[in-house]
């Protein structure tokens, strides 16, 4: 590490004002502060409270928490491929994993290159520091799209969301909507045929670099949630639910395994990065609504099945808890989470057009988070006013 530090100190003058590589100053600055905690401290004259953990470190915790789901997602991509080709007997664990790795890696690269490219350009243009928010979004985006999404669509969607959902609001920390979800929403509404449905979108059917198998004929696989929505929510057998908990079902890359997501959730809660209030209340809201829908006879699905199907768990753990777009008041977090759960299950059960409601629910509540905060603060003010004038 010392060698790297010395090297960075040595080349630093090139990037200062007037240096020959000044055009890449934000790139250098971004990489330097990513590797080391910056040495500069606040100027005297204002009051600041500093945490030892800055936002680059915070975001690396999020990425670590995402790794179990990502690795399992890669394995599952290979597993679904072998299943589609009917070659499950011949497939090895590592063969399936590396196949999935090769299938997912281009998406991660495209997402980072496009997103960070735009961020670096904007930062250099405005003479600002590079903002690190995209490090987490960049890995979230490949995890919430189907594995067969074409790369050019992904690139357009990432550019759309980074520019129109983030940079025009002022960059990281200023955005109203979660950029990863805006990317998915853009894909979902622009190219519905490759993003959803019971067509061939969920399973990669071609072999890559000699790994994996080519399916003999077009293999269609619906997600269990899509099937349930199509046949009027007839309920599930035990095997489907077990598979949905371990994650061996077709679906977006990172969202299938509840166990891997739970590992990430534990890590996020242990490090204090995500709010347990939001996470728990999403599940409570979804459970209540699922129970109500079942009691009213609108669906046969048990209330807790909603948690293990589709993107509910992934959204609750990694998307709803995004500190920038969630409600910030402690009381507001409960309301925010509850409403996400309620709306998600409502969309799933009541709207036949959208089998999955989590994305729409979180985006909708992102919009209402400031209003929720406003109401909580106003209520607090009026309560304290009453208390003060009571005597």
């Amino acid at each position: 590490m010392n060698a790297l530090r010395n090297y960075l100190d040595k080349i630093k003058p090139n990037f200062e004002e007037g240096g020959k590589l000044h055009a890449f100053q934000s790139l250098f600055d971004g990489l330097e502060t990513f590797a080391f905690v910056p040495r500069t401290t606040s100027r005297v004259g204002s009051v600041n409270i500093h945490d030892a953990v800055d936002s680059k470190r915070l975001i690396s915790f999020v990425i670590i928490a995402l790794l179990p789901a990502l690795f399992f997602g890669m394995y599952n991509v290979g597993y679904q491929n072998a299943l589609a080709a009917g070659q499950l007997g011949q497939a090895t664990f590592w063969g399936m994993f590396w196949y999935g790795f090769l299938a997912v890696l281009p998406k991660i690269i495209v997402s980072y290159v496009v997103g960070l490219g735009i961020e670096f350009t904007v930062a250099q243009w405005k003479h600002e520091e590079i903002q690190e928010g995209f490090l987490a979004s960049g890995i979230l985006i490949p995890m919430i799209v189907p594995v067969t999404t074409p790369l050019w669509m992904l690139a357009i969607a990432v550019a759309f969301s980074v520019i129109l959902a983030k940079e025009i609001f002022g960059g990281t920390g200023m955005n109203i909507f979660n950029p990863a979800l805006v990317t998915r929403a853009f894909l979902f509404f622009s190219y519905p045929s490759v993003m959803t449905g019971d067509s061939t979108v969920w399973v990669n059917q071609q072999s890559i670099l000699g790994l994996g198998f080519t399916a003999p004929e077009a293999y269609t696989a619906a997600t269990p949630l899509g099937e349930a929505s199509a046949d009027g929510f007839a309920g599930f057998d035990c095997q489907t639910i077990t598979n949905a908990i371990t994650g061996l079902i077709p679906g977006s890359v990172g969202e299938t395994s509840v166990i891997a997501i739970a590992l990430g959730a534990l890590f996020l809660l242990w490090t204090g990065v995500a709010s347990w209030k939001i996470m728990c209340s999403v599940f409570v809201g979804g459970g209540l609504m699922g129970w109500l829908m079942q009691a009213l006879g609108l669906t046969q699905i048990e209330w807790w099945h909603h948690f293990v199907l589709g993107g509910f768990a992934f959204g609750a753990v990694f998307m709803a808890t995004d500190p920038v777009t969630a409600a910030r008041t402690e009381c507001g977090k409960y309301v925010y989470g509850l409403l996400i759960g309620i709306v998600a299950v409502m969309v799933r059960v009541l709207n036949p057009g959208y089998p999955e409601g989590m994305m729409l629910a979180i985006l909708l509540m992102n919009l209402f988070a400031p209003t929720i905060d406003y109401c909580v603060v106003e209520r607090n003010i009026s309560m304290r006013m009453k208390r003060a004038t009571k005597k």
């Binding site: 074409p150 050019w152 669509m153 129109l164 025009i168 853009f186 509404f189 622009s190 190219y191 519905p192 045929s193 490759v194």
Partner: protein, 208 residues
């Protein structure tokens, strides 16, 4: 003749095209701009209809502006606009039936277009007929310009066509290109109008 095209009159005509554009600067008439721009043809027809109606209602109101009692001027303006809208709507039905079906209620709703009432109140009520005519044409064309830009982008990316002719070649589709379904939704036209306003303001930053 020199007086008709004096510098002031030229500005009356050219300002609404760019620096004082009714959509990009005054942000008026947005509802119809979002509703009719999913394809280029209805956008052009809508832009021309609004231009004709704005120009002639401006002229008529400006001719009778001294005889209109101030208290009932809005009603008088509405009667004039409604008469012109009905004429345009009938002409469209007679000569361009398909487009008038596509435009559906939005031709009738030109009556409520904020640009029209704004021009009548702010310009025609206090200027002569020739200036009012230029002002009406300028504002109508400024509106049409934005509609055409939005309609162009939406039809090209949403359907792969322009004015109904296929533009995106077949081999693009064969290699995996797909039309963007979101472009055909009204939500996207709001975003495109926003981008047009963004571009317009960054270009004209110095002049304000």
């Amino acid at each position: 003749m020199g007086k008709l095209f004096s510098k002031e009159n030229c500005e009356v005509f050219s300002n609404p095209l760019n620096l004082n554009n009714p959509i990009a600067v005054q942000v008026l008439g947005i509802c119809s701009a979002l509703a009719v721009t999913s394809q280029l043809e209805p956008a052009i027809v809508m832009g021309l209809s609004v231009t004709v109606i704005t120009a002639f209602s401006n002229v008529i109101i400006s001719l009778i502006r001294k005889t209109i009692p101030n208290r009932i001027r809005i009603i008088v303006q509405l009667v004039v606009v409604a008469a012109l809208v009905t004429i345009v709507s009938q002409v469209l039905k007679a000569f361009a039936y398909d487009v008038s079906v596509q435009l559906s209620v939005y031709v009738g709703l030109i009556i409520t277009n904020c640009i029209l009432m704004g021009r009548l109140e702010a310009f025609a009520m206090m200027n002569g007929p020739w200036e009012s005519f230029l002002d009406g044409i300028g504002n109508g064309l400024g509106y049409a310009l934005i509609l055409v830009i939005v309609g162009f982008v939406r039809e090209l990316l949403g359907f792969g066509t322009l004015l109904g002719f296929t533009i995106v070649p077949q081999f693009c589709y064969d290699n995996g290109y797909m039309n963007n379904g979101m472009m055909t939704m009204p939500a996207m036209s709001l975003i495109i109008v926003g981008c047009v306003i963004w571009a317009h303001r960054s270009i004209n930053k110095e002049e304000k």
